[in-house]
């Protein structure tokens, strides 16, 4: 509740006799409004989360066979599962690179339109199109683009006379993760562009005008004036992008299924495989992975917001 609301509430309470205070409600009314949402939420979000935490400390076999495992799942995970660590390093690499590309690329595209590139209003709409496509569509499309024989990627290289650099992009461990990353950025850059563009248009024009008068170069203007003023947006997108990438599943699943040779295995695809594809028939172990990963994501988000927001306070 914002301060304004609270003040409005106090004002209403002071001005009107209690009988017609619209801010007050009987318990029955509050329950009636909240109950549907809270019941569904409790049953199909809160309870599953608690059950996942419970599962993480057990071995869950089919037909409701449950055995207590203590910290066993976690010790196996941390000390005896090379695939998990491969998945962690892939996810970390993917997250760091994709988050940086998301924010830097989105800002670059937004600036292009902000300085009135021709047809900017049309391009803004066109560049956003991939954001609306499902990962399945994007994934299949990019599998074709990366096809060795007739895909756009190799065809473009051949056309540029760089036929020597033809690759089996998704078929070899050295390029697979990077290729999926390209497809991922193709889908998401437009999103970041739109958010930055909205923030740019909300900047006070006097400040930019003053920089213009001071004959400030555009790079200096970007680094010293625009970037600091966009800080809240940048922090927001960094966190949003980070969380999204740490959970990346769909695109990997459609494009490579985690292969070849674990080279695109991420934590999320590994959770899915351990739960539904491996013959271990145990939901406890993948639950432990999901729990551990959630704790790590939460810790990083708190760290990022704290670090980045504190500098805000120092500056202003």
């Amino acid at each position: 509740m914002s301060l304004g609301d609270r003040l409005a509430g106090f004002a209403a309470r002071a001005a009107a006799p209690p009988a017609i205070d619209a801010r007050r409600a009987t318990l029955g009314v509050v329950v009636a409004f909240l109950a549907p949402a809270l019941l569904v939420y409790a049953g199909f979000t809160v309870y599953p989360v608690l059950r996942t935490f419970y599962n993480a400390f057990h071995t869950i076999k089919p037909h409701n066979v449950v055995e207590f495992a203590g910290l066993g799942n976690f010790t196996t995970l941390l000390f005896a599962d090379p695939v998990f660590w491969k998945a962690v390093s892939n996810t970390a690499l993917f997250t760091v690179v994709a988050t940086i590309v998301d924010v830097a690329g989105g800002l670059l595209l937004a600036l292009c339109l902000f300085v009135r590139a021709p047809l900017a209003p049309v391009l803004r709409v066109v560049w956003f199109t991939p954001v609306l496509m499902s990962y399945v569509v994007v994934g299949i499309l990019w599998v074709w683009i990366f096809d060795y024989d007739w895909g756009l990627a190799n065809a473009t290289l051949r056309w540029l006379g760089l036929g020597a650099y033809e690759q089996s992009w998704l078929g070899q461990p050295s390029t697979a993760l990077w290729s999926v990353l390209v497809a991922h950025e193709w889908k998401w850059l437009g999103f970041n562009m739109i958010v930055f563009l909205a923030a740019l248009h909300a900047l006070p024009s006097e400040v930019l005008g003053a920089a213009e008068l001071d004959n400030c170069g555009w790079l200096a203007k970007l680094v010293h004036i625009i970037a600091p003023m966009l800080r809240p947006t940048i922090v927001n997108l960094l966190v949003l992008s980070f969380v999204g990438k740490m959970m990346v599943f769909d695109l990997i699943w459609v494009m490579t299924g985690g292969g070849p040779l674990w080279s695109t295995e991420t934590v999320s695809t590994y959770v899915y495989k351990r739960a539904f594809e491996w013959n271990t028939f145990d939901l406890g172990y993948p639950s432990a992975i999901a729990v551990l990963w959630f704790v790590i994501i939460l810790a990083f988000v708190m760290l990022m917001t704290r670090l980045l927001r504190q500098r805000d306070k120092l500056e202003f």
Partner: protein, 279 residues
């Protein structure tokens, strides 16, 4: 000399224009490529992958729609998404109205509980949801998927709506109360009409996200007859591995409705998709 200045200005803009053009080709090119492939046979595509569709094989669309299960996938998606969006909008709006309008004990706790759903990874829910739906016999049913979609989208719906509802001037509610409106009438006849833009934004966002949703659907549905569109496309492409032309037609059936909607409602869809990120 203004003419010279503008010439210099123009030269400086050449790299910008080239870059903008390149990125537009990168964004639109692949989509146009699928569009041409969807109208050509696989033999034509393998002879020349980048040729134009002449003659255009429109009949491929009818084939994909009727001869495979595409129409089933499409209607499954439509039923699930329409039901889930309607439900989540109604119960989300009620909760958001309650949190934005009434001061009551525990309101901060309820708000925190609901909004913490914004940061829950689906992986943390999916295995337990699989067990729970099995327990209550809703595994592999569209009803089960609808309930899961509603539950997992309450947080974002309340987040969008409460922010907007809280800005509606209190005077309106005081006046309505003095006119003798009941609590429910206040919600229905004041909050809902005035909050319509926010409701529209929430509906758009949830619609697009659910229409494209893959992870919950792939875990919670198994029968071919129950598949939603993303699962159907995946299955269709998988079973037409070598028939790229037909697979492209299948892909295009998924792309076209979104492009058509986007052509008419581009600003609404942009606003909806970025509602959580733009302040």
């Amino acid at each position: 000399m203004p003419a010279l200045a503008s010439l210099g200005e123009r030269v400086r803009r050449v790299p910008l224009v080239l870059f903008v053009l390149l990125y537009t080709v990168v964004t639109g090119g692949p989509l146009l490529w699928v569009a041409t492939m969807s109208l050509r046979t696989t033999a034509e595509i393998f002879k020349d992958p980048y040729g134009l569709p002449s003659p255009a094989h429109w009949e491929k669309f009818a084939d994909a729609w009727f001869k495979s299960n595409y129409h089933t996938y499409f209607w499954n998606s439509a039923i699930v998404v329409v039901c889930a969006v309607a439900l989540v909008t109604v119960i989300g709006a009620m909760a958001a109205h309650c949190l934005a309008r009434y001061g009551f004990r525990g309101s901060r706790l309820v708000r925190f509980l609901i909004l913490s759903g914004l940061i829950l990874p689906p992986q943390l829910l999916i295995l337990a949801l699989f067990q729970i739906l099995l327990d209550i016999d809703l595994y592999n049913t569209l009803t089960g998927l609808v309930i899961v979609y509603v539950a997992t989208h309450i947080a974002v719906t309340v987040y969008i709506l409460e922010g907007f509802f809280a800005q509606i001037p209190q005077d309106l509610f005081d006046a309505a109360r003095m006119d003798g409106y009941s609590d429910f009438e206040i919600f229905w006849r004041v909050t809902v009409p005035i909050g319509a833009p926010a409701l529209f934004t929430a509906v758009t966002l949830n619609f697009i996200v659910m229409w494209n949703e893959f992870l919950f659907a792939v875990v919670l549905l198994t029968d071919d007859d129950k598949r939603t569109l993303p699962l159907g496309i995946m299955h269709f492409t998988g079973s037409h591995q070598l028939d790229v032309g037909m697979a492209a037609t299948g892909l295009m059936i998924a792309i076209v409705p979104i492009i058509v909607l986007y052509a008419f409602f581009s600003e609404t869809m942009i606003k909806g998709m970025t509602a959580g990120a733009v302040r």
